[in-house]
Amino acid sequence: MTEATPHGGFWSQSWLVVLLSLAFGAALAAVEITLAPRIRENKRNATVSQIPELVPGAVREASRERVVGGATVLAAFDASGQQVGWVVPAAGQGFADRIELLIGLDATASTITGIYVLDQKETPGLGDFITVRERFRKYFEGQPTGAPLKVVKREVTAGSGEIRALTGATISSEAVTGIVNQRVHELASALAAAAAGSES
């Protein structure tokens, strides 16, 4: 029995690894099936609690889920029942893992009113500044949706369509901006039409 030379066939070597993979995979699937509804519910609550932050003037209780352009979004209303904007969930690949965002838009979907990071696993101390640094979120507020936002590595002025990259986290900054651009591009016109439709 020498350790260095390979001995035995594939199965005699690897049966334990294969067995464990199957058993652990099944266990994880069971956990996922059990907990997924709760986790979705938590995310929905987080989404609803962010509405006033994302859409100025919106009231938390006065929001309605709507399906627009094939996506489930939240229509945000103010205290008098006037629609003031939209909260749109979006997700995409970040540097490390999926980034999940909420995008706040005004009623005609022509201006971004805020963004919020729901879930991310970016590099601690660099990429996670997309959540930690309030300043980064602020770059998105008041940006027009007409043209895609651009990431630049210098100081920017508000509403200029430019987002300043976070030092040491260019990829995370570009990922967030890309996710926002993609989602806004997909839904802006549908949202504007839906808002106009619901007002008449």
């Binding site: 350790e3 070597q13 690897s14 334990l16 690894v17 464990l20 993979s21 652990f24 266990a27 994880l28 956990v31 996922e32 907990l35 709760r38 986790i39 938590n42 609550n45 987080a46 490390a96 991310q120 696993k121 970016e122 590099t123 601690p124 101390g125 996670d128 959540t131």
Partner: protein, 205 residues
Amino acid sequence: MTSQGPTAAERFLNGIIPENPTLRQLLGMCPTLAVTNGVKPALTMAGATAFVLICANVITSLMRKAIKPHLRILVFTLTIATFVTIADRFLQAFMPEMSKVLGPYVPLIIVNCIIICRCEVCAAKQSVGIAAADAVGVSLGFTLGLGAISVIREILGSGTLLGLRVLPQAWPNWGIQVLPPGAFLTLGLILGFVNWYSGRRAARA
């Protein structure tokens, strides 16, 4: 098979103080430095790590005779990753706020070398009872290490303990204790004290 090496009681006690993972072995420094600016996140991290460590040690010990030596790290990592994922999903489901505070540090328990160290040193060689005692002892030691650092940092940095105010409002919060440098300073001072104390005891003996 008679198991050689330390007994369950020795393993358990060694893990707490003599071989404390944080303050003696300097293992698992990532969570030690990252999540100790408050006692609550530190204790949540210690609890999640304890869950993973105990489960991984028990499972590894149960399969120790079937593990091929050259595939052992693969088997350890597979086991650890499974329990970390379970812990992460539970936090997301039942403690969503805390899950957001800890962020990527919960998945990073997978690469916490305390756990793989205990699998390699103890669980892969000794019986289930000893492996479980070892895991509980080391978990308590890790909790002690994280707890000590986080108590100091939260009191000095925020004037609170577990979110309750303990220092008067007039206390000027030491911002540095909330930020990463506070973790290094506090850890360094505690390590210095531990070394000084054990050196003195060794000199007397």
